[in-house]
Subunit: 301 residues, 2 copies
């Protein structure tokens, strides 16, 4: 699993601060998470293949999280895309996009599916044999979801030496990987644990932006491998955080600690701060394994 930060600032894009967008590469899926203005340029800058994006997750309808989407959808058309595109977003986004395509007489030439969200409990958005994605309901000025991306338990790893020694037929290998006991050529039942190793533990990524301090989300993100939690402000502006329903670095670290996650990434910084090191300084005493989101940074999970 690999996370690439395309933009990590709140509010208005500037020459050196891009609004929120991330690419999550998980078990060969390329998921785009949020899509602020200019995201298509950032995708080119960081050499993400446009055609590999089939699922876009939009947290909420503030501009710094979706104003780049209609441009990306239009560019897909101009590039002759044929593959379907799925957009998971709060109710209303479909109306916004379709109105613009209609008025520009610029319908897509590929299938475009909107999965509109309005529930306030975790919802299953995507599932295949390798990955599952749920919403993480958050608390902001408008209806907002984070997203929890989880790998599924992988197949057990074949202990090829043990399998050969036990004289198990090749035809049983898939069954062994799925965890079954099998009979060998002599008709003896061999226990699965003698034939396999444990697979790598499944990993998970929780994306929480934008939100006020909201400990209600902790049970859902408990023990996750990586948590991105917004920290728009420092504690010195905690009143502003409260009134705008954002979090401070200290609050993000508290969530990470209480949820017992492995790593924390901070982001969605207000552009008022000239140095980001203060965010680390504020979070570290509470949660040690904390890093800063920065444009172009790649996190290997």
């Amino acid at each position: 699993m690999e996370l690439t930060i395309l933009g990590c600032y709140s509010a208005t894009p500037k020459t050196n601060t891009s609004p929120t967008a991330q690419i999550l590469n998980i078990r060969n899926h390329i998921f785009l998470i949020d899509c602020g203005e200019g995201t298509q340029v950032q995708l080119r800058k960081y050499k993400v293949k446009f055609s590999r994006i089939q699922h876009i997750f939009i947290s909420h309808l503030h501009g710094d999280h979706y104003f780049g989407l209609v441009g990306l959808i239009s560019t897909f058309t101009l590039l002759g895309r044929e593959k379907e595109l799925h957009i998971y977003a709060p109710k209303g986004l479909k109306e916004i996009i379709l109105l613009q395509l209609k008025l520009g007489k610029s319908w897509t030439n590929y299938p475009l599916y909107f999965h509109e969200l309005d529930t306030k409990t975790p919802e299953l958005l995507f599932e295949d044999e390798k990955v599952v994605v749920h919403t993480i309901p958050l608390k902001h000025r408008v209806y907002t979801n984070g997203f929890l991306f989880e790998e599924k338990e992988a197949d057990r790893k074949l202990n090829i030496e043990a399998v050969k020694k036990a004289q198990v037929d090749v035809a049983y290998y898939q069954k062994i990987k799925k965890g079954f006991d099998v009979k060998n050529e002599k008709g003896e039942l061999i226990s699965n644990k003698e034939l396999t190793f444990n697979p790598a533990a499944p990993k998970s990524y929780a994306y929480c932006s934008d939100t006020a301090y909201f400990p209600e989300c902790i049970p859902q993100i408990m023990n996750c491998t990586l948590l991105y939690h917004e920290s728009t402000f420092l504690e010195e502006h905690s009143q502003l955080a409260t009134s705008t329903r954002h979090s401070t670095a200290e609050q993000a670290a508290t969530i990470a600690k209480e949820a017992n996650v492995e790593r924390l990434i901070l982001g969605h910084y207000s552009t008022r701060y000239s140095s980001l090191q203060k965010f680390i300084k504020e979070a570290k005493p509470i949660f040690k394994n904390v890093e800063l989101a920065e444009e172009g940074k790649v996190f290997n999970i």
Copy 2:
């Protein structure tokens, strides 16, 4: 008068090609003409003061001409703008913008006026004592207008030596500038032309994008000081120009020649061309005084 090119490419923004946006500084007005995705970043890059923009002219509802507008409107709010903002655009844009502000619960804290256009004849959009702006109806895949920005005849210039010699009271200076004959201290009537010089001839800028070859616009832009005319394609792709209702460099030059303008700027290039010099090469045999729009270029008119 001064024109700054913020972006001059068609279709999809890339790392080094911005979609259409221009700033026209005319008699102390700062007019923004079109507003493709990323325009607010371009405005910062070229140090245009956001608060000085009070009038935005949108030619048509294709994304490369307006996808940056909603972000700019939102940024004005975040910057605490109080001054009113006027947007002149095809019918439909108001609905697009207001829907997004509503769903984001992000109403502007400044007065926002939409002047929606749907007529197919030239329309007066703006007029004060110094400047007048009309639409230039064009021919494209969707309803499209160019814009004609004209300085009004300036006051006559005082010949201060002659005025003093004629012993005219200072109280009459404004009247002299307006072209009146006045009496001097001896009661003698002095002809205005003895007291003044001709002012600089009023200048004009015609912005024509996007459009198929459309000679019907020539009477309106006749003799203008500067013409920007789109040239999305070269003649080698003239069929593509016809089918997409765009112009070639040769067609843009023909319009400039027939309209007897002083200077021509080409722009709105398709990103398929690696060198822009071919546009000049194609246009120059028809219209000599031709230049290329390029990002960041400033044209003094």
